[in-house]
Amino acid sequence: MNSINRRDFGIAVVATALLSVGSARAEDTADPLAVHIDNFVFAPAQLTAKVGQTVTWTNRDDIPHTVVCAGKFRSKTMDTDGTFSFTFTAPGDYKYFCSLHPHMTGMVKVE
């Protein structure tokens, strides 16, 4: 098939346009990447992010928590409703924990 008729071309263009609109919208309107702390648990425990994306942790417990990823980032102590944000600039598996309650662990997978 070395040629393409008008009608097929039209469909192909529309499909491409829809696809690009679709993916652009996904990026524009996607919820900010969020990890919530409830009951001494990071949720979701594992999160996938793209390079350049920011993840925000929010502490919803009555007890302070922290988010610590050895050598990468370390939050201040977050009291109730306190937040911490980190923008990931390199791919990798970022395992983190709460330095006050180290049994609390989570991971951000950056692709």
């Binding site: 409830d38 009951n39 001494f40 648990v41 417990d61 009555d62 007890i63 302070p64 922290t66 610590v68 050895a70 201040k76 102590t77 009291d79 109730t80 395992k95 983190y96 924990f97 330095s99 006050l100 309650h101 180290p102 049994h103 609390m104 662990t105």
Partner: protein, 312 residues
């Protein structure tokens, strides 16, 4: 308690009972013949006659905590200190097993100091994880760390008993529990070396040195090493806080015990989704902070952790 319980010339048994019982805040320890014993309900009537040295343990005052489980943690600490002041037999000193403050703010340390000093007793502190979360991690050491090593461990002798304050809330590892670390453990080994095995030993630290409930982080990763060093001693007592409830187990010559908080109760292991502050009816709060008592006898071989009833 009504007025007729008071005797003109002293304190009635019921009065003693009440004070001693409340001192569970506040666990009252007495050392008779070199063996530390806690004064529980059963023994409290004898408390006034108890010979030897008496000391008090308070824990987890969380000054600054104002959430629903207790909007006024400062107030309940004040009440605890009031009760201690009113005790008929003045203890020799107090130990505080950490979480003095809730957020390590200077103002919280100031308030705690102002209130606790009203007891007019020497206080030997160890930090909890809530006491070392100021930006520069300096307030605790500035106030209580004089003469201590590393993050604040030390030992002293009183009444023929050797006391060791340990720090297991620093440099915690992801996925792990409380942590003493090699340096402190080496120091402990040396500190105990050469001491007569008949010297009663009291180890105190914030997080339980034995594994209470690892799912909630209630234990110390390398606590077993510390316990190894005290193995040969005839009487060893391990006092902790952190879990805001009384728990006890006896293993050979070692008695493990955790004290209540003066701020808020926490649930029994596994009985709630998390170890967070437990909200109870206002009328019950104070009973969970202070009323139940503990009692143990040397030579008790029970290995089970005993969850003392909250009341009675």
């Amino acid at each position: 308690m009504s007025d007729h319980d008071h005797h003109e010339d002293g304190v009635s048994r019921r009065r003693v009972l009440e004070c001693m019982t409340w001192a569970g805040t506040g666990v009252l320890w007495t050392v008779t013949g070199g063996v530390p014993r806690s004064l529980g309900l059963v023994e409290s009537a004898k408390a006034a006659e108890a010979a030897g040295m008496t000391f008090l343990q308070i824990s987890d005052s969380h000054v600054g905590f104002d959430k629903p489980a207790n909007p006024n943690a400062k107030g309940t600490l004040e009440e605890a200190i009031e009760k201690i002041r009113a005790m008929p037999a003045k203890p020799s000193f107090m130990i505080h097993t950490g979480d003095i403050t809730h957020l390590s703010k200077a103002s919280e340390f100031d308030d705690a100091e102002r209130i606790i000093s009203q007891a007019k007793l020497d206080v030997h502190y160890v930090p909890g994880e809530h006491d070392i979360i100021d930006e520069e991690v300096k307030f605790y050491k500035e106030r209580y760390g004089r003469g201590t090593r590393g993050p604040g461990y030390y030992s002293f002798d009183a009444g023929g008993v050797h006391f060791v304050g340990l720090v297991n809330v620093v440099d915690l590892k992801g996925g792990g529990l409380g942590n003493l670390g090699d340096e402190q453990l080496e120091w402990l080994e040396n500190d105990l070396k050469g001491r007569s095995k008949s010297t009663p030993i009291v180890l105190f630290a914030h997080i339980p040195l034995w594994t209470v409930y690892p799912q909630w982080g209630w234990g110390t990763e390398d606590g077993a090493r510390a316990l190894d060093y005290v193995k040969g001693f005839g009487s060893v007592t391990v006092l902790n806080g952190h879990i805001h409830q009384v728990m006890q187990k006896v293993e050979g010559n070692v008695t493990f015990h955790t004290a209540r908080s003066t701020a808020f109760p926490q649930p029994a292991p596994g009985s709630a989704p998390s170890p967070g502050p437990m909200k109870v009816e206002d009328s019950r709060l104070r009973s969970l902070l202070g009323v139940a008592s503990i009692n143990f006898k040397q030579g008790d071989q029970r290995l089970a952790i005993i969850d003392t009833p909250l009341q009675g």
